[in-house]
Amino acid sequence: MLFTLISGILIGIFYGLMGLGLNFIFGVMKIVNLAHGDFVMLGAFGVYLAYSVWNLNPLIALGIELVIFLAIGIPLYYGFVPRLLKSRDPEMLSLILFFGLSQVIESLASFAFGTNPDTVNPTVFGSQPVNIFGQSIQMSWIVAVLISLLAMAFMYGYLYHTKIGIATRAIMGHRTEAMSSGINVHRVSAIAFAIGIALAITAGSMTPFVLGGIYPSMGVDLTTTSFAVIVIGSLGNPLGTILGGLIYGICLMLMQTYLPSWSSLVPYLLLILILLFRPSGLLGRRERNA
């Protein structure tokens, strides 16, 4: 039981990180990045590639990935989002547009990596398990959790202690007013978009250690899971995402321990129940009229 709880909390923190990028982009731009899970997948394969080909430490691989994907995120934003936001129904069309992107990424990844699952040696961070409250936990999990906490701390610092972060929060609150108060909405949003993708990549880099085998078509499930996490918390609220991740992680671990054959239902059941009975999420207040 204790092990279940501890691993639930640890994996929950990781899931919080996974939802963070999706939620951040939604919060700022009110668009749904359905390719989110595919970016997570790319992050995972980046680490796999770096490790299996160049024998690079995953943390160094992550550093390189972040630079690359921050650089990809900005043009990606300018290519799609401004046009999308001008359209008749940005939210619905974003769903379809990013689904298309997710298909493109998935097919390209299948060309590059084949369709069979790949794994990264989980002992790359040391094979010695760590002892928490008398329970031994794999070192790679600890690294994943530390990375997640670091990313969350970064987000907090960014949103509350930098000028551009404060502008970002202004846009999250009132887009049109932010625009009229002289904030360069597109520049701030482009950076937010790139950060959202970088967060997905960060979560992805730890995926091989937390979830095991990685494969190009894993993106859809990861997107749904991320969506479940942020809906549990509440859309557009970064703090809620962490709470959502924790609840999700603990529920998942409990189910895996006591009702393993039904555990794949957890994300979907939680998602539906929260949508129907607490439509604004656990931390939300606003009416859900997206």
């Binding site: 379809i96 129907l276 859900r288 997206a290």
Partner: protein, 306 residues
């Protein structure tokens, strides 16, 4: 008005002839059958998304429930095939009733919610512990009622029915009031339209359609697995075909299905990754440059499209 009526009748007639004569000209009957399946589902998506604005990512859930409803009716209740098809539609109706609270959600929330719902249905049906009833992950065998010809005819009738329903929506005050609800539910209420009841009716109608189609599909292929009939790409195909052709029209989903499903058969089966790539690029181009589908090329120029 009379001209439009004539155009509608003509479309239905042509569609009927196309698929009635199709198998005797083109040998691959299963391909033509599948095309009818997707066209009927695309019309279902069209009714729901085109007319009421709900984009059902999980539409395949009703298809799968229909297939399994029919399969269970055959294997456990030993009913004749046609009764099983009707029971398949009925099971989808029940699922639709249970899931009708989803209509309280809007926009992306509804889409994702319906996706989650179909995944739940899939996970329940394919669960090992339900093997005595559903066959669990090991699939279903309906060899006892196998009848390629009759199931083909039933599918054709369903397609005609679905298309006729869309032409009705396209030309009736009821269809107009659906668009009114989609455009502004509050004003629609003030126009005296019973918004909730109308939405639920359309939702159930599309659920039954997908259920009947799923049941007939099960009958036609006779051996299938949970991941065949709950495959998410079934919803996605139906959605993309509809959007590509153009929603809220009769012709859009028809044209979209013929073109894209044709493309899928030309390259999709032999090299799925290439298809996925082309498909993905196409979807993105569609949203960015032609968000109202192919038919909007005509309607934009003031040409009426049925």
């Amino acid at each position: 008005m009379r001209k439009r009526m004539l155009a509608n009748v003509l479309i239905i007639l042509l569609l009927f002839l196309l698929f009635a004569v199709g198998p005797s000209i083109y040998q691959n009957q299963s391909l033509i059958f599948q095309m009818m399946v997707f066209m009927a589902l695309a019309q279902g998506v069209n009714i729901l998304y085109g007319f009421t604005g709900y984009l059902p990512f999980g539409y395949v859930g009703f298809f799968g429930i229909g297939a399994y409803g029919a399969a269970i009716a055959v294997n456990l209740l030993h009913v004749p095939a046609l009764v099983a098809v009707i029971l398949g539609g009925f099971s989808a109706l029940l699922a639709g009733l249970v899931l009708s609270p989803l209509l309280r959600l809007s926009g992306a929330y509804f889409s994702i919610g319906s996706l989650a719902a179909s995944e739940i249905l899939y996970n329940v049906v394919s669960n090992d512990s339900l093997q005595p009833i559903t066959g669990g992950p090991y699939g279903v065998n309906l060899a006892g009622i196998f009848d390629e010809q009759t199931s083909y005819v039933v599918m054709l009738l369903l397609l005609v029915l679905a298309t006729a329903f869309v032409t009705y929506l396209r030309s009736s005050r009821f269809g107009m009031s659906l668009i009114a609800i989609r455009e502004d539910p509050v004003s629609a209420e003030m126009a005296g339209i019973h918004v909730v009841r109308t939405r639920v009716f359309v939702w159930l109608a599309t659920a039954v359609l997908a259920g009947l189609v799923g049941a007939t599909y099960a009958w036609h292929i006779s051996v299938f697995y949970p991941n065949t009939v709950f495959d998410l790409s079934v919803s996605i195909f139906a959605i993309v075909f509809t959007l590509f052709g153009g929603g809220t029209t009769v012709l859009g989903p028809v044209v979209g299905t013929i073109l894209l499903y044709g493309l899928y058969n030309a390259i999709g089966i032999s090299s799925p990754q290439y298809f996925q790539l082309i498909y993905g690029v196409l979807i993105m181009a569609l949203v960015l440059f032609l968000p109202n589908g192919l038919m909007s090329l005509l309607t934009r120029r003031g040409i009426y499209v049925p």
